[in-house]
Subunit: 354 residues, 2 copies
């Protein structure tokens, strides 16, 4: 079932974004024996028993289980998870895969979303085999390479003159006016069910890290990882949750204190007012986590480092490394810690930028 | 050790492309119990015990284990392997990873290669963390998106006015003149050791297919799959090899009869004179395989189909589906067959082309 994070009201597992009270929703299910419920796949289907989908209608571009590569960085044990190796080039495919499976089950064939790029690209790709028409709202500032891909995937692109929040509002208005289903990954509880599989993988691959650094704008990966590790704890697999570190872009902080200078390079997390903010605060508290924000220059330096390490990612992915450097320098992450750094978006799309 | 495919002479496992007699080389090792030698990883390191590398110097962008997705196509059981979900966006990373590990072991830090794009991109990416300078020879006709990426990865690009074979010859000349190591994936025996891991994965994921359709130009994936399945047979895991189908581009056939019209869309396999031709013929014979070539139009139609199925690949990857349609129509692949179709290159790079 779905449960409201604010008033606790429950709903059946249909496609729904908010409670009647306006609160955000999370999927709540009994969880059982982890290893006893793994399916014999080396991809996201491995965890299908833990997902709120029937399993009979899964879109063909199945998300991969992505490698975790261990490198010594500043005397900590850095575990880079190559989560950009997904069908549309970002971790978002995990959430989209579950979402589109749910939309297919309900026979929904036309949807509206807003995205700075990757979420829309992911939805456009998965919607093709599902026969779903995608209306995507983007700002004029969206990267041309991503727009070109979106168009070639058949998405209907609606340009909005305004910032990320204005794009969000126009999309909501359009969905209300037309009666089409709004599928914002910011709100969609099924999206988090997909991103939680990253935690299951990490657990199987390297156990429980001491720290998990996550690029955090709308919080879809941050909350997915929190939910995944929380379910592992409820299943009795782990005793302690890893400490979650929300990594934000300066000028767009929602959890850290807001800085004056804007880090527009990390465009994927330039989301100053995420609707799941209360849950993110709760996850930070529950995991004894912390928040850190990084500047444009710090992001750029980390991005260059990642390229030289052989990780061809987009700039937003680099914030976690910039944050690691900071937290090691200040002593907040001690030497010898086991630190997970998910790398979230492919750099292959950015022919102008790498 | 390395063994010459022509005269049988053997060499130690150092980096070497040809026998003194001019013949091509293959790595030859004792192979043991498959499941007993798997390492606990969900990525290419799983098979490191079967590779001619020490395991202590592996480049960080570890190739992924890629999903295999089953779809009913024209009454056969089509198994699409999403092998484009690799760090540089193509299956070539499997071969490059092993190659660069070997180059690192030998302290080689400057190399020469020729490539229509993906092999060079892969080598440029893996060479960054290894500290290897890459000279790559490309034709003026190479795709600008791939060249832009190559440049950003720090490769030294040498343009050649001529076709694919001319590019190859210029690269060889340059290597001879400068004394630098030529690392052509066409010849390099370590490259095939990497691509053979795809066969190991397939075996673990879906068992032995009846047919394996492979885009075949220089034959690096074709021979890698042949070698991988052959080793599984020698280990007693399987009794019969799958039937290998070499899929070629019209106008560039080396195994099928040469057609007059050139399929330039499938640029990744536009290699009319591959140096490992005799081995490819042998693999076809040993597996009771066959050869089929597909046209530009057939490739384009299959490419569109793949996009609609949610597989964002480059045109060369589509030839296997075009071939499947043909072989089903002519009855050469009977209904109900289990057919593997590796999808080899990402479409994310092609912002102009998808």
């Amino acid at each position: 079932m779905l449960r409201c994070t604010r008033c606790g009201k429950t709903y059946p597992e249909t496609f729904r974004l908010r409670c009647d009270c306006g609160g955000t929703l999370l999927v709540e299910r009994e969880v059982y024996d982890f290893f006893g419920n793994l399916m014999p796949y080396f991809d996201a289907r491995r965890y299908v028993q833990f997902l709120p989908v029937s399993g009979s209608l899964l879109p063909p571009p199945v998300p991969a289980i992505t490698p975790v590569v261990e490198l010594e960085v500043e005397s900590v044990n850095a575990l880079f998870k190559l989560d950009y190796l997904q069908p549309s080039g970002s971790f978002k495919d995990r959430g989209t895969w579950v979402t589109v499976a749910k939309l297919m089950e309900e026979g929904i064939n036309e949807v509206v979303l807003d995205s700075s790029g990757n979420a829309a690209l992911s939805m456009a790709l998965y919607s093709l085999p599902a026969g779903i028409t995608v209306h995507t709202f983007v700002s004029y500032g969206a990267l041309p390479e991503k727009l070109a891909l979106l168009q070639r995937l058949g998405a209907v692109i609606h340009f909005v003159d305004g910032d990320r929040m204005a794009v969000h509002e126009r999309a909501v208005e359009f969905a209300e006016k037309t009666g089409l289903t709004y599928v914002s990954h910011w709100l969609n509880p099924y999206f988090l069910e997909g991103t939680k599989t990253a935690a299951f993988e990490v657990y199987e691959q390297v156990g429980v890290p001491d720290y998990v650094l996550v690029p955090t704008g709308s919080g879809t990966l941050f909350l997915g990882l929190w939910k995944g590790f929380t379910e592992l704890k409820r299943m009795g697999e782990i005793t302690d949750l890893p400490r979650l570190v929300a990594v934000q872009a300066t000028g767009y902080e929602s959890l850290c204190n807001r800085s004056p200078l804007k880090n527009k390079l990390a465009d994927g997390i330039a989301i100053p007012e995420p609707p799941r903010l209360d849950e993110m605060k709760r996850a930070l508290k529950e995991t004894n986590g912390l928040c850190v924000s990084v500047t444009w220059e710090e992001t750029e330096e980390a991005w260059e480092w990642l390229k030289r390490a052989g990780f061809l990612v987009e700039p937003t992915s680099a914030v976690v490394l910039a944050a690691l450097w900071k937290l090691v320098e200040t002593g907040e992450i001690p030497d010898g810690s086991k630190v997970l750094l998910p790398l979230t978006g492919s750099g292959l799309k950015l022919t102008e930028g790498i």
